[in-house]
Amino acid sequence: MRDALGRVQSVLLVGGSSEIGLAILRRLPRADAAVVCLAGPDRPEMERVAEALRAEGVGRVEIVDFDACDLGDQTAVVDAAFTDEPDVVIVATGYLGDQATAEQDPAAAARIVDINFRGLVPVLMGSVQRLRAQGHGTLVVMSTVAGERPRVANYVYGAAKAGLDALTRGLTASLAGSGVTVVIVRPGFVRTRMTTHLKPAPFATTPDKVAEAVAAAIPRGSRIIWVPGVLRWVMLVLRHLPESLFRRLPG
């Protein structure tokens, strides 16, 4: 149970080795004996993360294998991950892929959509079902500004995230009055392993900044946040630019 000061006793991180996900996890005010469950495809990396978290004072770390590419029965993942009744569920699985490859290889394009959207649908739906039943909790979903208007540079990724974002907005509406709140996070360019090979776009940010914004948003109920915050207004304008102009924008 979360306490009056927002301290969590149990957190589920889907995308168990995600830099942004871990930054959020570390920013959450935490009860001493808190339990963390990491769900992701990279077990060795998650083992390393678990060791670090234990050293930081996390009471217990569980690891659950979860591969968003495996489109089989994903409900077992939710069952395993929910044994400790999470106060916060962070869905931070993300895969940028390569736009040029995706344009040549339809299977590569489908893979981007699978990891960022399709493979997360059962996890999201199953998590929400359980959060609703437990009557409390917060769902944090990593979306992106790239989903707000597709760009030539990464429109497959953007389309997948747009699907995730839309699904989550629907879930948010359905959760009104349920005791469960949802924070949708739309960062701009975040400097992580996923983006090291890219030139930072304007308004580039860091996992820590994202985490700080999420931690501040959680006590305030369901909402969509942009990181940095100014992107909310930037995107408001960009969404309405004529295509001919939008296409020519740098970055």
Binding site: M1, R2, D3, A4, L5, R7, Q9, P29, A31, D32, A33, G59, R60, E85, A133, Q134, G135, H136, A176, G177, S178, G179, V180, T181, P219, R220, G221, S222
Partner: protein, 468 residues
Amino acid sequence: MSAERGSPVRADGEERLLTGWGRTAPTRARVESPTVPAEVAAILGRPPIRGAIARGLGRSYGDAAQNAGGTVISMRALSAPADLDPVTGRVRVGAGTSLGELIAAVLPQGWYPAVVPGTQYVTIGGAIASDVHGKNHHRDGSFCDHVHAIELAVPSGARLALTPDGPNADAFWATAGGMGLTGVTLSAELQLRPVASARMRVDTTRTRDLEESMGVLREADATAQYTVAWVDLLARGGALGRGVVTAGAHAGADEIAAVGDGVDVPPNRRIASVPGVPGRSGVLHPTAMRLFNELYFRRAPSDSHRGLEPIWGYFFPLDVIGDWNRLYGRAGMLQHQFVIPDAATARLIPMVERLVATGVPVYLAVLKRLRDGRGPIAFPLLGWTLALDIPAGAPGLAAALDRLDDEVADCGGRVYLAKDARLRPDLVATMYPRLPEWRAVRDRLDPGAVMRSDLDRRLSLVASPPRT
């Protein structure tokens, strides 16, 4: 979010967001409003998914009367009119009856509850579950010290008659202060005290600092039935903990002759209600509260003073302002109450100084002496208790209170569960060393762990925390 914050729940079998009086950490529960005891048994017997907990008027500050994803049983409809024996002062009353309703029924006949907390908006069931105490704890003990019998519905369907010294005494004392986790109290038989008037004779003394507040309070305890010290923890430097100590007694018939009223006085009416306040931090700010404290302090006469006060205003000063908890804004408030034993008296002032030094604003502080409690998880100890009203959004609050908890636990003290909203779970066993004894009795009354609450889940009261 449309939380039903800190108020009684109404509709039947309805999903609602609930919080305690502090308006923090809302969770959703299915709220049932039984009108007869048999309906309580039916609800417990299903048994409900994720368990059930009774709720009265929602005046617990924290999450004691919430049950996320489970059932909350609103007890307000189980308020059979008080059945008073006017000769002995024994009264049988439904668990959903409020103390204010009980007082309104019995005071005109010259009787008053033996123990009342600082608000009349508490049900009998809630008063038992929290084993509430008042200004006379040093002399008269807690609410349950004046309860002859509790009628308890347990999940098996049985209705138990518990008495403090009978064959079920262990169940009685596990229920007294048991935070509603032993079953649902349906009714109780209370011992009232005879009173000759509806007024209190009150001696008021102003004190310079915390040390003097403690000294004057201790002195007053030797002679007065009701004592309490309001202390100013926003005052700076040497004035920290200056206060106003009041010592009260029920006024006799001779004393009120001049005033001209007897026991037949109507309860106080609310003079105002606080509307929803926009913003997370509400309308209270340290500077404004410092000014308020200054005025409150100055209002008390600098020389000791004796006066007659109406009984309702004396015991329930804040009740004249409806929904005063809204003043703290959306972020809500904590009332943090702890007790330390007499052996640690010398540590109280340094503890308070360290808390204040963190910058955490304590808007309201009440100091009081307690005597030992009786139940296995009773809060009171022979020593000093301090209740602190603090805005929940205050920066650094978690660390400041954690540190205070460590000191309190270290000197054998404890935090009051009825008001708690943020205690570290690992400290519960230290602060309540008889917890295993309570669990054993509780498990016997409710082997299926049907009685659950957010407080229980947060602090692992019902089940021992899992070991890794």
